[in-house]
Structure formats: structure tokens, C-alpha cells
Subunit: 411 residues, 2 copies
């Protein structure tokens, strides 16, 4: 049983987290949001009040913090009395925020794997490089740390666990992420361009035939025919959840597929081949040291600015194949989200919405004790049923499609 | 009659100029080369000696100079005793170098129009913005200043003047620049990427129907069937020579066409649409101010590095239409250059070669008095015959193709 939430970060996902926390502040208690730039936090709180999102009168306060400074984050946790920290800041700050939680005993949630700004695509499994090295200390301190509890990773890990309960044996898990929406810009990324491109410049790791397979980005493509969004081309992509699901489902193939249009691939290919996605500094003729990727980020539209005009839908889910009663069986467990509905509710587009609702749902399960497990876990280690049920009521309804048809998923 | 040459700049074109001056130092006298970085000048001189390019024993000295500092350039002109300055530095230094020539009485040659680093594509005619404003002062001081004496602008202006002598009336001049060579890199520009891209990001000005017409880059394309290089797609492009030829040939259409492959256009379009070709600074998330175009330049291959592996040919010339003896008439006057031959002779690729040989040819005509006109001129104002004849012997032979066939051009 925990109360009072500190949100770290003030981007598009933080906006969703803030609105969703406000909608449930009767159960979450005081709300706080902190980022490097306090004004961004204040703007998010203003948008919460504009929508009258606070369920009951209560505290929602903005703070400035350097999240790379663990002691500063710990001090803020103590000052605010937060027992739950939802970290939706840059992926570079995960470990300093986690350390602050271990020090103070607060529960920790994040939505993406930790990254070192100077490294791209480290050795698999990625969770072994930073997060799992702190698992024993979380357990010893009784700290609940739920890793990667966005949509993907996050809800899709829970979907795998649901499928585990339905099949006698799992032979493959293919996570497919399709954004069939349109933002109307010539080119834009749906979240921080720096993180977005970093995902695709390194080796694509997948878990197949009991080991790590490596490919290049856009080397392996497959057309998927999915509910609502229809036929969509997706490409084998390196992604966080493959690095934890492969530990639990060692005998299954675990792959992640992300949908891309030809236009995105062309822009990405040009930038990558020219060296403009590099995180290593170059020197201009005038002698200025510059990291090209940071300049690309600077010229691209702010992902948050896309929300007002974003239309269309996303479809993200798990195609799980295996054996049931001695026969081959297949299930597809998924969610469809709508960009415009997301914007109308919380002022963010659908990609931010699908990433921001799950950690608040998990925070509610920590607040009521259901998921307050006192150790570090990936989502597939937790009972998925209360989570799926609560998500159904919070704007991200799950569905299942199998031999019996296509229907809502609940327990 | 003038002697002793000071070369300003140390890029690919300067390399060609240095070698060609050395090959004719019996007539040009002492040779000097200066740029911001003295080591670059020394490397060029070393390559001259490596090829034993000096026709007779003599001086070839390297100097460091800030060519944006007119007084420093004037001091260097006096120190070296140079009576001819070949300016093949950045297009940003033209006016400061010209001022130094006016002050010292040295003859001035350049190969590209002056540019202000902070402005792209100013009001036409471009020569009116900087160069022609100093015409009266050149005349008063008796200073010979030959503007734009590379290949295009430069030789192509002389070709227009040749055609003027062949036709009774000119109705159109289409300058076509095709590089059918291959550098083997995924993408590279043939000269300074900053200048290269700046040429194409602004308005495309052409002179048609007695006035300035405006288009966007890659808006108007046409396939040309040329000698040696065959059928090639070229696009209406803004270029220096249109801005002087339109003054002499007011009643003719004057257009410039540059050949581009689909790959170049795609890369250019991506960079331009994302804002990466902007000369205006952007601020990164970390607060660093950066000019995107300078970062693009920093990641692209150094044009000089392309030379050793460059193969294939260029074809640049003037399609001139008009009337002769009451009948419609057309001539094509052109040169074909070979990248590999250029590299073997002077250590530069063909684009640099075609730009660097003409100013040395003109310097020889100033040295012997033929073109030492004591005022500021564009190339079409000069007698083209001695120039074409001398170019024929210096590695850039001209040809003419008309109703009488395809044959060498000489006088």
C-alpha cells in the first residue's frame, strides 16, 4: 500500500501520466512532477486543470530537478513524500532515478530501458547491462521496481503472460507495433527523435532457435494483416521486451516488429548513411564539436506538437503461436488506440497515450498492494489479470483474436 | 603585362590552379598560395613538386592569411610582389580580396559570385549586389578584375560570345552542365557542400521573355542528348552566369541546367525538407547553437578525397539558338573532361579541373597583356578567341556541334 506519486519527465508521455494520475488522485494521493525545466512541468499541470482532470481536490506541484543527480532525486522524493516514482524522463536517467528509489524505499516504474548516452545498442540481454545488476539490492531493500511498464515494453509483456496461461506450450511470440495514424508533417518522429533513431541504428537483436540472432534494421520485413489497421508492413526491430521475454520463454522465438512506411525508411536511410544519426561528435570547418543526432533532433518537429492534428489508429499486440491439447494454436492479443480520442482526453497523441496509461495503471496496482511486490520485476513476472482488467477501464481496452473469434479480453 | 601570382584558397580548385600555374611559371613568375591554414598550402606545393610541375626553377611559397581581412591580403600582395591574384577561396571572401586588389593595383580573378554567409540567393542580377558596385572604382584605379572565370561561369560565357559572332541574332542560351562521372561514395558533393547546397536551396532565377522568372529547384527538368555522355536529365538551376549574360543578351532567354541523378535529388530533398540545409542556427536540447548546413558539411566526404577514385566524364556547354541568314540556327559549343586524366595530371577530379584551368589561362592572357583590360569585366565582354585557343592547349579543348557537324573549335 503506497501513496503520493512523483513523475519524472515533462514530455508527451509525462503529459499522459499526469492526466491519468489526476483522474485517479483519490487513490494516488499527492501528485508531483519534476524535470530539468520547471516551466514544462507547470504547463502540464495547467493542462490538467484546464481539463478538470483532478478527480478530487488535491496537490499537484511542479519541481525542477536534474534527474542525472541521484541525490537530488532522493531529496525530492523525501521532500514530496512520494512513495511511487513514475520515471518517464529520458532513458538516460533511469539508473540515477532507480538509485534514488532504492535509497528512499519508493516504488520505481519506467517505460524504456536504460541507455548510456555514449553507447548504442549494447550486448544482449540489455536488461543485464544496468537494470538486473540492481535486482538483488531492490530485493534486499524491499523496493518494488517494475521495469518497462509502457505499452511495448509493458502491456505486450503482460499479453505474453496471458497467452502462457492459454497454451500448453509457446513456440513463438511476435510483438507487432503498427501506427496507422497520420500527423500531417513531411516527416516527424512520434517520440524523442534521439531515442527513436537510436533504436534503429544499432544491431537488431531477436531471440530465435534458442539464441540471439542479429540483423540490420529494415533487413527483414513482413506484412501483417491486423484488425482495424489492415495489411501493414513491419520490420524486425531491436526492442526492450525481447531482452526480458527471451529469459522467461527460452524455447520460443521472441521477435519485435515495427511498422514503417517507405517514406520513413527513406529519410532514415539518408540520415544514417550520411552519418547524421551518429551519437559521436564531429568537428565543423569552424572547429565546433557537434553531435549530429542532436542537430537532427533540433530540426525535427517536437513530437508533442504533432498531437493536435494526429488522426488514425494504432494497433499493438502479440501474435503468440504454440500448442494446445496437442494441436497447433495461435492467439493475437492486442489493443487499438485512436490518436484523436487520446488528444481530446489528455492532450497527447496515441503513441504517448499507449505508453503513458500503463504505468499509471501499474501505480494504482502498487497503491492498492496488488503489484507492490517489493523487488525488481519485468512485467511478464506479474499476474497480468488485474492489470488487463484495470487497463480496460482506463482507456486501453484489450482484445483477443483466435480460432474462437475476435472479442474483448477480461478476467 | 603583369607577373607573379598569388593564389587565395587551398581546396580542390586551388590545387588545379597551383599545378597549372607551375606548368607555366616561365610566363607567370613567382608563385604564392595563401589560405587560413598554411599546412594546406604546403601540401599543395608538395604535390606540385612531386609531379615536377614547375616548368622552370622558381619560387612557390605558402602563406597563412585571413582572406576576410582586406588589409592582411593587401599586405601579402605587397610582400609577395604579386601582380595577379587568383581568388579560388570560399565565395565569402571575394569582396575583401577584390578590395585588396583595388588598393594595390593587382589584377583580380575569381570563379564564383560573392556570397554573404548569412544570405542565400539574393536579388537578381546577383553581380549587382556586390561586384558591379565596385566597377567604377576598378576602372578609376585601372585594375583588371575578371569575374567568374571558371568553367561555368567563365568558359561558358566565352562560348556565348563565340556564338554571338556566328549568329545574326541569339534567341536563347541554355548552359548545360553534366557530370556523368562516378565517385563511388554513397553520397558526396563535388565541391564544398556548403556552397553546393546553398546553390539549390534558394529561388531558381532564369532570364526568359525579357525578365526574371522564378522557379523552385528540381521543378523544371529536361533531358538533353549530349556528345560522349549521351542522354542526361538536367534541371533548371540558379547560377552566376545567368546574371551577367542576361545583361548582354537582353532579348534572349538565358537558362542554366545542371544534371542530377535521382539519388542526389532524394538526398537533397530529405535534407532540405528536414531543415538540415539551413544556414540559420538552431539550438539543441542541450542549448548549443549550431548551423545545420555546417554539420552536414562536416559529415560528408571531403570533395578533395573523391579524386583518386573518380572515373567518367563531364560535358559542359552552351546550346545557343538564334537566326542566321534569315533561317533558324543552333550551335552547341562544349568541352568534355575526364576525371581520371585530371587526377593523373594535377591530383584533382574533373569538376575542380574544369574550374581551375580557366583562371590560369586568363592569368596568362593578363600576363601577356591580351586581357589586361584595366577594368572590371564579365567574361563575355572579352574577346573569346585567344582564350579558347589557349584553353585548347592547356587541357580543356573546346568543340562545336552544329549543322556542319561536330568538330574542334579554334581560331
Amino acid at each position: 500500500m503506497k501513496r503520493n506519486v512523483l513523475i519524472i519527465g515533462a514530455g508527451g508521455v509525462a503529459q499522459v501520466v499526469a492526466h491519468k494520475c489526476a483522474q485517479h488522485n483519490d487513490r494516488l494521493g499527492d501528485l508531483h512532477i519534476a524535470s530539468r525545466t520547471r516551466a514544462k512541468c507547470e504547463a502540464i499541470i495547467a493542462s490538467v486543470h484546464e481539463k478538470n482532470a483532478m478527480k478530487v481536490p488535491g496537490t499537484f506541484a511542479a519541481h525542477a530537478v536534474d534527474a542525472m543527480d541521484s541525490a537530488a532525486v532522493a531529496a525530492l522524493i523525501r521532500e514530496t513524500g512520494a512513495q511511487i516514482v513514475i520515471n518517464v524522463g529520458s532513458a538516460f536517467v533511469n539508473m540515477t532515478v532507480l538509485e534514488a528509489c532504492i535509497e528512499t524505499g519508493a516504488a520505481y516504474l519506467d517505460t524504456a530501458i536504460h541507455e548510456d548516452p555514449e553507447k548504442i545498442c549494447e550486448t544482449p540481454p540489455w536488461y543485464g547491462n544496468y537494470e538486473w545488476q540492481r535486482r538483488d539490492r531492490c530485493k534486499a531493500a524491499g523496493v518494488t521496481a517494475i521495469l518497462g511498464i509502457g505499452f511495448d515494453p509493458g502491456v505486450v509483456n503482460a499479453y505474453a503472460r496471458v497467452a502462457e496461461g492459454m497454451l500448453d506450450k509457446i513456440t513463438s511470440i511476435d510483438i507487432v507495433d503498427i501506427n496507422a495514424g497520420s500527423h500531417g508533417k513531411w516527416f516527424a518522429t512520434n517520440f524523442d527523435p534521439e531515442i527513436n533513431f537510436r533504436e534503429f541504428t544499432g544491431t537488431v537483436y531477436s531471440w530465435q532457435n534458442g539464441g540471439w540472432q542479429t540483423n540490420k534494421m529494415f533487413e527483414v520485413g513482413q506484412t501483417w494483416d491486423l484488425p482495424v489497421v489492415g495489411e501493414q508492413k513491419a520490420y524486425l526491430t531491436g526492442h526492450d521486451e525481447v531482452h526480458s521475454l527471451s529469459a522467461r520463454y527460452k524455447d520460443a522465438d521472441v521477435r519485435f516488429w515495427m511498422g514503417f512506411g517507405d517514406h520513413y525508411i527513406n529519410v532514415f536511410t539518408v540520415l544514417k548513411n550520411l552519418g547524421l544519426l551518429s551519437e559521436q561528435p564531429v568537428k565543423t570547418a569552424e572547429g565546433q564539436e557537434v553531435i549530429p543526432l542532436k542537430v537532427v533532433k533540433a530540426v525535427l518537429p517536437d513530437p508533442a506538437s504533432l498531437a493536435p492534428n494526429y488522426i488514425g489508429k494504432t494497433c499493438i499486440g502479440d501474435v503468440v503461436k504454440g500448442v494446445k491439447d496437442g494441436q497447433p494454436a495461435e492467439v493475437f492479443i492486442y489493443n487499438v488506440a485512436d490518436h484523436k480520442e487520446a488528444f481530446e482526453e489528455v492532450g497527447s497523441q496515441g503513441i504517448s497515450y499507449t505508453a503513458g496509461v500503463p504505468p499509471v495503471t501499474a501505480a494504482l496496482l502498487i497503491a492498492d498492494g496488488t503489484w507492490d511486490v517489493g523487488t525488481m520485476v519485468n512485467v511478464e513476472e506479474l499476474d497480468p489479470k488485474p492489470f488487463i482488467n484495470l487497463l480496460n477501464t482506463m482507456g486501453l481496452p484489450s482484445r483477443i483474436k483466435d480460432a474462437q473469434g475476435d472479442r474483448p479480453l477480461d478476467f
